[in-house]
Amino acid sequence: MAGLEDLYREIILDHYRSPRNKGELETPPATRTEGFNPLCGDEIVVYVDVDDDGIVQDIKIGGQGCSISQSSASMMSAAVKGKSVEEARKLTTAFKSLMSIHEANVGGDGSEAEADPDAELDPSIKLGDLEALQGVVKFPTRIKCATLSWNTLSQAFDEAAAAN
């Protein structure tokens, strides 16, 4: 549909239709964290299993959401699996920077206050498939869909760290 290709790139629809790492993990050892997008009702559940070396051994995604939130979660899961928590956090910052250009206009609930639109992107970080989500910034109300899983992942890492 004319005009919407920017939002609904083929790779996004592919992740939406065939989500990677869908499912659950046993807790413990995994951490289970829920995220809500109060604007639209989307709910996401991130299961993440971080080993003693700080490596994301496994990650699974549950919940319901639109094509943007589901595909973003799917790509995220593929991108961080096997990476260190530190690398995953850097990727999160990079992704949120990509998304935050217009985020200030959306707000109103403060949940994105920590995103820094001026943060320099670490050039060593490769977003890969995730760059397909760049078109979302043209649709400001959808930015929260794209960042939901990432915010939930950050929270999961915090909870996992706190549990140790």
């Binding site: 549909m1 004319a2 239709r17 319901q64 639109c66 094509s67 959808r142």
Partner: protein, 426 residues
């Protein structure tokens, strides 16, 4: 994709096209990313309605001729402002058949109206072991204030279930009401459109010695309302859903209850006397209207009621039933098994609200694609998460109608939904 056939759309009780002439916001064209210009089709009145020029003019008139703070001024402008504000109270009272204008309290929205009852009446009258009965189809505005009260006072909350076709399941009503002090329920679901049996529910509450609060946000704008006939104790609604302005809600309550209730917010305008030792409250409604009230907004609501009364609430209702019937028929014909319409199957059993699920397309995506076609609907949980959970969905796409909608709008909706389905088809 165009409508299935080119025969003119059937007519409903009101002429939506003619009515739209009064609504400047509905004259605007929206250019899609495909470069085409389309008339805006506004199908989100259940969230907030649009307003005719007459309502905008009424507020401008206040601001350009008769604005001052109310109640305490002696000069003529202040007197006119007071008369406009109090005149709106009288108009609202007659619109809902309230026995006295003094029973009409202006709040900032329906949410504040319900919070007022939960905080003032609830705190003064409820304690551990008491029960408040809600329904599973309530809006968060009629859930959270009671949960806050419950957490503070140890009150129990009980839930009237819903059936799969979107009706209240009243089979256990007497058990649920046994020992309850309050039944708070919606007169019309903002998700399903379901009209609840208001009089029956109020009578049941009273039989059990409970009060009845009716969240009438969705019905007052669309149906004739008679608080005496309902026999309710409290009724809450918002101006912005009935073509009035934002920033204004209404609580109606029985005078003897309001009279006995402690104040809610404290400040100017609600006192008889203040000393360093304490304060005494003024009479109702002043007691519940602390601070400078929504003055121009009240004048706007008054004009909105004039507009509605000029059409006639029976006609409004007839129009919306016909439009809903046409929409249910059309969407089913055009989308078949790919669409699910939540709520009662019978249009006469519901208001002009259609929550739908499009197979394999999330509500958020539906709404995005419809916006490209200048069709405005709302995706989400519609502030009714317990109900969404009952249906096992996180979100629906909701289209809702008002007097300015017509069958052309429904056709545009159907066209856009077909386009959305096709876009997401594998």
């Amino acid at each position: 994709m165009t409508a299935a056939d080119d025969s003119p759309s059937p007519k409903t009780a009101l002429d939506g096209t003619a009515i739209r002439a009064d609504f400047p916001i509905l004259h605007q064209m929206q250019t899609g990313a495909d470069g085409e210009e389309r008339r805006v089709v506004f199908l989100d009145s259940a969230a907030s309605s649009q307003r005719p020029q007459q309502v905008i003019d009424a507020m401008d008139e206040i601001y350009t001729h008769s604005y001052a703070n109310v109640h305490r001024g002696v000069y003529q402008i202040a007197e006119r402002a007071t008369n406009a504000y109090e005149g709106a109270r009288t108009k609202v009272a007659s619109f809902i058949n309230a026995p006295s204008a003094n029973e009409v309290i202006f709040t900032k929205n329906a949410t504040e109206a319900i919070n007022l009852v939960a905080a003032s009446w609830g705190r003064a009258n409820l304690g551990p072991g008491d029960a408040v009965v809600l329904t599973m189809m309530e809006h968060h505005a009629n859930i959270v204030p009671w949960q806050m009260l419950a957490a503070e006072k140890g009150v129990e909350i009980r839930w009237i279930p819903v059936t799969d076709d979107g009706q209240l399941d009243l089979s256990e009503l007497d058990t649920l009401l046994d020992g309850a002090k309050m039944l708070a329920f919606t007169s019309m679901s903002n998700v399903l459109g379901t009209l609840t049996p208001v009089k029956e529910l109020v009578a049941a509450a009273h039989r059990h010695g409970a009060l009845a609060l009716v969240d009438a946000c969705q019905s007052v704008p669309h149906l004739p309302t008679d608080v005496v006939d309902m026999d309710a104790d409290f009724v809450a609604f918002s101006a912005h859903k009935m073509m009035g302005p934002s920033g204004l809600g209404v609580l109606w309550g029985r005078m003897e209850l309001l009279d006995a209730m402690p104040p809610f917010l404290g400040g100017g305008g609600m006192i008889l006397n203040v000393t360093t030792e304490g304060f005494t409250t003024d009479a109702v409604p002043a007691k519940f209207e602390a601070g400078t009230p929504p003055i121009a907004e009240a004048a706007g609501l008054s004009a909105a009621i004039d507009y509605l009364e000029n059409i006639g609430m029976d006609e409004v209702r007839r129009h919306e039933v016909e439009l809903t019937a046409y929409a249910m028929r059309t969407l089913t014909e055009r989308l078949g098994d790919d669409i699910r319409i939540f709520g009662p199957a019978e249009p006469a059993a519901r208001g002009g609200v259609l929550s739908i699920e499009l197979r394999d397309v999330h509500a958020h995506d539906v709404s995005q694609i419809l916006d490209e076609k200048a069709v405005c609907i709302r995706p989400g949980h519609h502030c009714a998460k317990p109900l969404m959970r009952h249906y096992g969905v996180a979100a629906t796409a909701r289209a809702s109608f008002y007097i300015y909608n017509d069958t052309d709008d429904v056709d545009a909706l159907a066209d856009a939904l077909v386009a959305a389905r096709d876009f997401f088809a594998l």
